[in-house]
Symmetry: C2
Subunit: 396 residues, 2 copies
């Protein structure tokens, strides 16, 4: 059964009992996303970035006015201890650290906005967050994240909403044989997208496709032709939205999915060790060692992020289609790549709302719940626009 | 400078001083090719098959009337000791054992016919074989082997011969995504073909291409469309033939070369160990472990072998094109695959000539030298025809 979690969000004006002063924000992870979060918040909050790599932190501290702290964030106790000292925490770690980090921040009773694409269901921590009395927003990047907010908004606006399709992709501007792809976030999470079973909903029933299946060509203005294939990007939408048809696809330059399917089905993404003359080798570990250097963006290399969310419904009996399109490119001025910006800014914009006391309801909330509140979506879209990211809306 | 090695081959009638009786033949290797050699010679010679794997030998002994011997043929001394007891030796080992085995058999002073696709130049052992007083024929499979004989014949018949192009491929009848390929000989040697620099001759000069380059589509009667790409299959032809333009390509179902290029250029065929968290891993070793089980023929699975040798010359001033075509399919009666048959039978037919004392000249000889003698080529082609392998010749 689908629960309407969009009813009461506690959205409102700043609480009067809030302590005045500058918000102390902790960013977990100084990678591609974490550094964009730092860039966005540095002027307005008292920001500390924590990461295990001193060189990564040094590079961030050189560019933006933030404090840094070397910390092994793979140890939940360290995260908990650290988080307790801050007013808000933003998570920019890889998906494999997602759930343990979520637990640690909840235990620290600090409000949390996370972009981790964790394999586990973060809503299982809702009761824990409620008990701790802290608001947590998960999956709050671009897709899931911005796409989820748009879907949540569409489901509410178009009710009864019959169908939502989400297409999203992050790509290098320059196409280089053979993969025509670079990883603008943890490359291991890119491969995760190609291996996790992809859950969709069709006619009210959940169906599971192979990742990389359902590959079709899509023409997009300003880009040309991309391919779009099933990935497991619906996540909490499958629980939160009362929409019988939900589909999510990732977009790449045509040909990429076929190569990934070859590698995956040959066994190169395997996580079970193979015995090679007495040595245990995890195929994925070797594949990562070979592939990731080739998937790394050059320092000044430009990328783009593209998304389309299309929804169909019959509000008041009138067949209506709502569509949002976004095509964002690397910002030369800040040097931040598009994927870093479009992933980090939904999180920083929501973190600003939380820090301002405008979203305080305890519990673990997915972005679609926020998007169903017109006030929040409008504010996030305005914030993105102010940061040069235009999401255009078409109604038919 | 190109040496004409085709002049005096010592081809003739059986020597009168030859000891009467049944020839004792040793086959080195009981794999896909060695077992086909055993099948062909079992009725006519006293055959022993040597291999390191007892189960492989047991399967051969059960089917054909041959003796077997378990032996580690990777130890040259064992090969030498064994070879000394026989009248003739046939080599059916993987290319990496080729040169050491060649040396061992020459030291044993036993005539030798080998199909190994060794990376080294076997003609460097010519003086040793001459000194030992034994005839040796190397590269005596289908391509190199039969194709080399045809090229040697064409170069002589069409003199001055301007251009020879060799196309050859072994393929499963059933095309299975993604590779549409199975290895009908040592699969490591199939990958060798995709990594060795491919030497060609153009306008009298040697040029080296990347393996897998120059990929083009070829329509072939009875098959449809295949792709053909550069591989290093000319081998000794570059030394022995006075033909200014020589090209060799391997054929596969379209798309195979591109996938191999992706794997190779990503590093999956690398032989230098990579450090994975302290464990040294050779990428090729993992790739073989993943790929080869998928490249293995099912027991009764059918294959085909296709070759085309086309030569252009101006004998007596008249522009003339000679072309040989062969399309062979698995023999259901014997259960031997086409690639096993077409690779083994050129060797067994030449071994019969040697054993009969009809080719006795000491030295290391490539097949094109034999092919330039119409007597030998005709006999080999007749022998192949008697075994159901038809090579059709077209003259324009």
């Amino acid at each position: 059964m689908v629960v309407d979690r969009t009813a009461d969000l506690g959205l409102g004006q700043p609480k009067t009992d809030r302590v005045a002063g500058v918000t102390r924000a902790l960013i977990l992870g100084g990678g591609m996303i974490g550094s964009a979060m730092a860039a966005d918040l540095a002027g307005d909050m008292d920001v500390t970035v924590a990461d295990i790599a001193p060189d990564v932190l040094a590079a961030i501290a050189q560019r933006w006015k933030v404090a840094t702290q070397v910390e092994d964030l793979g140890v939940p106790e360290r995260v908990r201890g650290l988080a307790a000292d801050f007013d808000i925490v933003l998570g920019a770690l890889s998906s494999r650290m997602g759930l343990a980090t979520l637990d640690a921040v909840i235990e620290a009773r600090t409000p949390y906005v996370d972009i981790s694409f964790m394999a586990d269901d973060p809503l299982t921590r809702n009761a824990a967050a409620q008990a701790a009395g802290v608001p947590v927003v998960v999956d709050c990047g671009v897709g899931p994240g911005l796409t989820s907010m748009l879907a949540g908004h569409a489901a509410k606006t178009l009710a009864p909403c019959d169908r939502i399709e989400i297409l999203v992709g992050g790509l290098p501007e320059r196409r280089t044989w053979p993969y025509e792809y670079k990883a603008a976030f943890a490359p291991r999470d890119a491969i995760e997208e190609y291996t996790r079973p992809a859950r969709m909903r069709e006619h009210g029933r959940e169906v599971v496709y192979d990742a990389l299946s359902g590959c079709e060509l899509v023409d997009l203005p300003g880009i040309g032709t991309l391919e779009a294939f099933h990935t497991d990007g619906l996540r909490t939408l499958l629980q939160t939205l009362d929409v019988p048809n939900l589909r999510e696809k990732t977009m790449r330059y045509p040909g990429h999915a076929a190569l990934m399917k070859v590698l995956r089905d040959t066994g190169f993404f395997g996580e079970a060790p193979i015995d090679l003359d007495g040595t245990k080798v995890v195929p994925l570990a070797l594949t990562e060692a070979l592939l990731f250097p080739q998937w790394q963006y050059d320092p000044d290399e430009a990328d783009l992020t593209v998304l389309r969310v299309e929804a169909h419904g019959r509000p008041g009996g009138t067949p209506t289609t709502l569509r949002w399109d976004m095509l964002d490119r690397r910002d030369a001025a800040s040097g931040l790549r598009s994927m870093s910006r479009t992933t980090a800014f939904p999180a920083t914009l929501v973190a600003r709302l939380v820090a301002a006391g405008r979203f305080t309801r305890p519990g673990v909330h997915p972005p679609e719940v926020l998007g169903a509140q017109p006030g929040i979506l409008d504010e996030v879209l305005a914030g993105l626009r102010a940061r040069g990211i235009e999401v255009t809306r078409t109604t038919r």
